[in-house]
C-alpha cells in the first residue's frame, strides 16, 4: 500500500488548501440553502413585501397602514427614489407606498391618493392596487358628516371566505423541510464536483510529475495495483469530504430527520459522489496539467449546476437546456432530490443512470490510463 500511503501523505501536506476549499464551499452551501422557501402545510395567502412611508399620519392613513401590515410583510425603506427603485429592482420589496401629507383630502375627492412604486408586469402589482383601492373605497362609502367610520370598515374587512386545498396531504407534507433538504443537497452536488476535481487534482498533480511517473514505470508495481491504490486514496478523500456535508445536514435538521425520507437524499448523494469520483479518475487520466484540472473543475461544476437545476429549478429551464443536461449525472442527481418519493423504486431509473455514468467514466479512465502506460 505504498502508493495509497503516499497519496494520503500528499493530501495531509495540502491539508490547509483542502480545508480552505471545503470551508468556503460549506459556507456557500449553508448560505444558499438558508434561502429555501418556507412552504406551509395548508393554503397560505401570499404576503407581499411592502415598504410604507407615511407623510400624513392621520387616523385614516394609520388605519390604512394597519390594514396593509395585517395583509403583508413590512420592509424598511427610506424616502429616496433611487433607494426605492433599487428595492423594487432587486425584488427586496414588491411595492413601496408613499402616503402624501394631503392624503385625507385626496381620498374624499376620489383622487389618486397614494404613490406606489411597483413592477407593473407582476401580479403583486395588481394585489397591492386592489388592497389599497378596496380599503379607500370602503372608507369613502362610510364617509358621512366629515368623518370616516373606520371601525365599521375594519369589521367588514374581517369577513372572509373558505379555501379548500385539493390533495393537501401528500402535496404539502413537510414541504418546508423537504425544500431545505432539496436546496442543501442540490448545492452539495455542485460542491462535490468542484471539490473532488480540484482537491484530488491537487494531490494527483504530484503523481503526474514526469520524474515520479518515470520511476513508477520502471518499478515492480503492477499497473492495476497502482491504479487500485490511487483509486482507494481518492475514495478515502472523497468519503471524508462527503461525510462533512452529510453530518452537517443531519445536525441541521436533527430530530426532524425521521419526518422526511432522508435516506433518499443520503443514498442519492453517495451514488452521485461515486459517479463524480469516477469522473475525477477519468479527468486525471485525460490530463495531469494542474491548470487544465482546475479549469475543468470550475467549468464542469458551475456548468452542469446551471443547466441541471441546481441554481434554478428544472421546471424553469428550457427544454433544450435540459436535453443537454441529461448527458451529465448532475441532472439525475437533482431530479432525485426534487422528486417526492415513497420508495426507491420511484427514483430507480435516475440512480441507475448515475451508476451507469460512473461505470462509463471508470472504464474510459482505465483505458486511457492503460494507453498512457504503453506510450
Amino acid at each position: 500500500m505504498t502508493v495509497y500511503r503516499y497519496f494520503m501523505k500528499i493530501a495531509i501536506r495540502n491539508r490547509w488548501t483542502i480545508a480552505m476549499y471545503v470551508i468556503v464551499f460549506f459556507v456557500m452551501t449553508v448560505l444558499n440553502s438558508s434561502n429555501a422557501m418556507k412552504r406551509e402545510e395548508s393554503f397560505v395567502e401570499s404576503r407581499l413585501n411592502i415598504g410604507i412611508i407615511d407623510n400624513c399620519n392621520s387616523e385614516m392613513s394609520n388605519s390604512l397602514k394597519d390594514y396593509l401590515k395585517d395583509e403583508n410583510n413590512i420592509v424598511d425603506t427610506v424616502e429616496d427614489e433611487d433607494y426605492i427603485k433599487e428595492q423594487i429592482f432587486l425584488e427586496m420589496a414588491d411595492a413601496v407606498i408613499i402616503i402624501p401629507d394631503d392624503f385625507d383630502e385626496k381620498v374624499i375627492n376620489r383622487e389618486e391618493s397614494v404613490l406606489i412604486y411597483k413592477d407593473d408586469r407582476k401580479p403583486q402589482a395588481i394585489q397591492i392596487d386592489n388592497q389599497i383601492n378596496k380599503f379607500l373605497g370602503f372608507a369613502n362609502i362610510t364617509y358621512e358628516n366629515g368623518t370616516f367610520d373606520l371601525d365599521y370598515v375594519n369589521e367588514a374587512l374581517n369577513e372572509s371566505i373558505e379555501v379548500h386545498v385539493l390533495s393537501s396531504e401528500d402535496k404539502f407534507k413537510n414541504l418546508g423541510l423537504n425544500a431545505w433538504l432539496k436546496f442543501y443537497f442540490n448545492f452539495t452536488g455542485y460542491v462535490i464536483i468542484a471539490l473532488y476535481v480540484a482537491v484530488i487534482g491537487v494531490v494527483m498533480s504530484d503523481f503526474g510529475d514526469e520524474n515520479i511517473d518515470n520511476r513508477r514505470r520502471i518499478s515492480s508495481k503492477r499497473f492495476l495495483e497502482f491504479n487500485r491504490e490511487i483509486y482507494l486514496g481518492q475514495l478515502t478523500l472523497a468519503a471524508a469530504v462527503a461525510s462533512i456535508f452529510i453530518i452537517a445536514s443531519i445536525l441541521f435538521i436533527r430530530e426532524n430527520i425521521w419526518s422526511v425520507y432522508y435516506v433518499k437524499y443520503l443514498v442519492n448523494l453517495v451514488v452521485f459522489s461515486f459517479s463524480i469520483l469516477c469522473l475525477t479518475f477519468l479527468i486525471n487520466n485525460i490530463t495531469r496539467n494542474k491548470y487544465a484540472i482546475t479549469a475543468l473543475s470550475n467549468v464542469l461544476s458551475l456548468g452542469t449546476s446551471f443547466i441541471s437545476g441546481v441554481m434554478v429549478p428544472q421546471e424553469i429551464l428550457g427544454e433544450k437546456v435540459l436535453v443537454i443536461a441529461k448527458f451529465f449525472p448532475m441532472y439525475y442527481f437533482v431530479k432525485v432530490n426534487d422528486s417526492i418519493v415513497s420508495s426507491f423504486s420511484d427514483v430507480g431509473f435516475e440512480l441507475f443512470m448515475q451508476l451507469l455514468f460512473a461505470v462509463a467514466f471508470l472504464l474510459i479512465g482505465l483505458i486511457l490510463s492503460k494507453k498512457a502506460q504503453r506510450a
Partner: protein, 351 residues
C-alpha cells in the same frame, strides 16, 4: 522607460503564450455567460399573465368577474374542478357559496381570494352597491421593472474584471527566485525587479481589459443582453476591478511560498466566494447579504463593482459611484503597499 516598454513586450508574449491565462480570462467567462444565459433567459423576460378562474355560469358573481380585465373566466361544472386544477388550466374554482377550491398556494390564488372576499365584504358593509365606485383608482403608480436575475450578469462581469489576479500571480512569480527559473536569472542580474513588476502589472491590466471587452461584446452582440448603456461610468469600475485584480494577484504571489497551483486555488476561491456573496449564483444571496450584513455588501470589492454597474446602467443612479471608486482604490493602495513590503530587500542565500 524604454526598459519598461521592452519588458512589457516580453511579458506580453509570455502571458499570451500561457494557455491557462487565455482560458481563464477569455474562454471561461464566455462559457459562464452562455450558461447563465441558458439558465436564466426564461426568467428575465417576465410578463403579466391573466388569472384563470373556474366558475359555474349560474354563480351570482359570474358577471362581476367577467368585467375585470386581469381575470379570465372559465365556465366549468363542479365535476371538472379537479381535472382543470390539476392541469393548471385554472388557478382556482369559485363555488356557489363563494368559497374557493385551489390546488396550491400562490399569488394568483391570493388575488382571487381577495376579489371574492371584497364582494362578500361589500355585502357585509350593507350600503347600496351603486355607492361603491369600483372603477375609482386611489393609486398613482410608478413603474420600476424588477429584474434581480440580471444581477448575475453584472456579478459575472465584476468577477471577470478581477481575473487579472491570475496574470498578477504569474507576474509575481516571474521576479521571485524561489518560484521560477526566470526569477533566479533576474535576481542574479543587475536588472531592476521593479521594472519587471511594473511591466507585468501593465501587461496584465491590458490583457484582462482586452478579455473583458471580448466578453462585453459577446454578451451585447451574441447573447443580445444590453448591460452597458452608460459606458463612461461602467468603464471606471471595470478598470478599477482590473487594477484591483492584478494587484491582488501580485499580493497573493509575493505573500507566501506556496506552489503556483496552490496560489491559483487561493485566487479561485477568493474570487468565487466574493462573487457568490455578490449574487453570481442567484440574486437571493445578494439580497440576504444586503438585508442582514449590509456592511459586507459595501466592502466586498465584487459587490461594489456589480452594484455600481447595475445602478449606473439600469437604475440611472450614480450616487454610490464615488464611494465605490474610493473603496476600490483604497484596496489597491493597501495591497500594493503590502506587496512592496513582502518584496523589498528580499535575498535568497540558497535555493
Amino acid at each position: 522607460m524604454s526598459n519598461i516598454i521592452r519588458n512589457c513586450m516580453y511579458q506580453g508574449k509570455n502571458l499570451f503564450r500561457e494557455g491557462s491565462l487565455l482560458f481563464w480570462s477569455v474562454i471561461y467567462p464566455i462559457i459562464l455567460a452562455v450558461l447563465f444565459y441558458a439558465a436564466f433567459n426564461g426568467i428575465m423576460d417576465s410578463s403579466l399573465d391573466d388569472i384563470n378562474i373556474g366558475i359555474e355560469e349560474s354563480n351570482e358573481i359570474f358577471h362581476v368577474l367577467e368585467e375585470m380585465d386581469f381575470i379570465n373566466v372559465h365556465i366549468i361544472t363542479e365535476n371538472e374542478v379537479y381535472e382543470k386544477l390539476d392541469n393548471e388550466e385554472i388557478d382556482a374554482f369559485i363555488d356557489s357559496n363563494l368559497n374557493l377550491t385551489v390546488d396550491e398556494s400562490g399569488i394568483n390564488q391570493t388575488i382571487i381570494k381577495e376579489v371574492v372576499e371584497e364582494i362578500k365584504q361589500i355585502i357585509k358593509l350593507n350600503r347600496p352597491i351603486d355607492g361603491f365606485e369600483f372603477f375609482v383608482s386611489y393609486v398613482q403608480g410608478k413603474n420600476q421593472e424588477a429584474n434581480s436575475f440580471v444581477v448575475i450578469f453584472y456579478s459575472l462581469i465584476a468577477m471577470v474584471s478581477t481575473y487579472g489576479i491570475y496574470a498578477g500571480i504569474e507576474t509575481a512569480s516571474l521576479v521571485q527566485a524561489n518560484l521560477s527559473n526566470l526569477g533566479i536569472r533576474i535576481n542574479v542580474t543587475p536588472l531592476k525587479k521593479q521594472n519587471f513588476l511594473i511591466a507585468g502589472v501593465i501587461v496584465s491590466l491590458l490583457m484582462n481589459l482586452f478579455a473583458n471587452t471580448v466578453l462585453l461584446l459577446f454578451i451585447n452582440y451574441i447573447l443580445k443582453i444590453h448591460l452597458c448603456s452608460d459606458l463612461k461610468h461602467s468603464a471606471v469600475f471595470i478598470l478599477l476591478g482590473n487594477l484591483f485584480g492584478v494587484i491582488l494577484g501580485v499580493f497573493i504571489g509575493v505573500s507566501n511560498k506556496k506552489s503556483m497551483s496552490v496560489k491559483t486555488l487561493i485566487a479561485i476561491v477568493v474570487t468565487l466566494l466574493l462573487s457568490f456573496l455578490s449574487g453570481m449564483m442567484g440574486p437571493w444571496i445578494k439580497i440576504m447579504i444586503d438585508k442582514y450584513i449590509p456592511l459586507l455588501a459595501r466592502i466586498n470589492p465584487i459587490s461594489i463593482i456589480s452594484n455600481n454597474l447595475y445602478r449606473i446602467n439600469l437604475l440611472g443612479s450614480t450616487k454610490s459611484v464615488g464611494e465605490g471608486a474610493v473603496i476600490l482604490l483604497f484596496y489597491c493602495i493597501v495591497l500594493l503597499f503590502l506587496s512592496y513590503i513582502f518584496l523589498r530587500r528580499k535575498n535568497n542565500d540558497s535555493l
